[in-house]
């Protein structure tokens, strides 16, 4: 079956995240049509009402647009997409920093560690 869901986070939010990630990665380009509610429900093995809610949520935040009788499309408003990309980055950084801080790393340690890691990776590639 499809990717499993985290059991303690609402599924509609997890689906939102998945779609946003796809947009950020460019798998879903601006103006692309999203799968129909039913198709996405079947693909991810969830209730169609949940997918409906996901699309509704994305529509509220302006990331997708519903066109009557045609389906749901990724917005062509690049400002919205850029903002979403930025938000996603910040939320991941926040998570990283919080966890590192909880384990007792200082800011310089985090920055140095990150720089070292990236430099090393570059060498290997």
């Amino acid at each position: 079956m499809a990717q499993p869901f985290n059991p303690s986070v609402p599924i509609y939010l997890q689906l939102c995240e998945r779609i946003k990630n796809k947009i950020v990665r460019g798998e879903l380009g601006m103006g692309t049509r999203l799968p129909s509610v039913r198709d996405l429900a079947i693909d991810s093995g969830v209730n169609p009402n949940t997918v409906q809610r996901t699309y509704h949520e994305l529509e509220e935040s302006g990331i997708v647009e519903k066109k009557r009788g045609q389906g749901t499309f990724v917005t062509e408003n690049s400002v919205v997409i850029r903002r979403m990309r930025e938000d996603l980055k910040i939320s991941h950084i926040k998570l990283f920093v919080t966890e590192m801080r909880e384990m007792g790393y200082s800011e310089t340690e985090m920055l140095d560690g990150l720089n070292d890691y990236l430099a090393q990776k570059e060498e290997n590639e």
Binding site: R38, N47, T50
Partner: protein, 230 residues
């Protein structure tokens, strides 16, 4: 809408349901969960009119659930209730003749989806394929209420997943409501809108699955265990 008001059901001396009141809104997939012998099957049988309550009333869209409620309710039994000498095709024909709301086309489509061979005899089907056939003949009926008693039990993961996908594909939630009893909570969880938790014939709680995740940060299994232990 399904309404149970003060419903009790007694089998001789054993109380199966004790003063149960419930309201089930249309357009949802509802999981009826609880331990063995908690009253899940009894509840479904009362809603489908196969049993009569000892006390209280069961109303389906305002109509008392009796013999004729089967026009509105499709019921999938946990037992195999098919003629074993029939082929798959004959079983489908039999259902098509029995129920005027049976959608032959939809049945064919589902047989295809479930990869069932129409010429095979029911007695020669594997348990998994018998499970699939049951789903096909139940979901092919165009009725507002579909009740499924343990549609997943004893089946392998591949069959379970094909049944779950079949459910999502072939149910029309704008017109239909589904109630499922199951112990396969993890698998069914993403499918459910609402759960009804029952213990010893009493309803412990009725809640939206997303609310359980959102407000209590619990998975369905953890929630059930917590509620059961209190």
């Amino acid at each position: 809408m399904i309404q149970l008001e003060g419903v009790s059901k007694r089998y001789l001396t054993k109380k199966a349901l004790d003063d149960v009141s419930l309201q089930i809104e249309p357009g949802h997939i509802i999981g009826l969960i609880g331990s063995n012998g908690s009253g899940k099957s009894t509840t479904l049988k009362l809603i489908s009119g196969l049993l009569q309550p000892t006390k209280g009333t069961v109303l389906i869209d305002g109509e008392t659930a009796g013999r004729r409620i089967c026009r509105k309710v499709a019921y999938l039994s946990e037992l195999d209730a098919y003629y074993s000498f029939f082929t798959v095709k004959q079983t489908v024909d039999f259902y098509a003749q029995t129920f005027s709301d049976f959608n032959r086309e939809k049945a064919e489509e589902m047989l295809e989806f479930m990869k069932l061979d129409q010429s095979q005899k029911v007695k020669h089907l594997s348990k998994g394929n018998r499970g699939r056939l049951k789903i096909v003949v139940t979901l092919a009926r165009e009725v507002p209420f579909i009740l499924m008693d343990e549609p997943l039990s004893g089946l392998d993961p591949m069959v379970r997943s094909s049944i779950i996908k079949g459910l999502i594909s072939f149910i029309d939630l704008e017109k239909q409501t589904v109630i499922i009893t199951t112990h396969e909570l993890q698998e069914i969880e993403p499918l459910l809108d609402t759960v009804i938790l029952i213990k010893n014939g009493v309803i412990l709680d009725q809640k939206s699955v997303e609310d359980i995740r959102c407000n209590e940060n619990l998975s369905l299994v953890d929630w059930m265990v917590e509620k059961y232990e209190h």
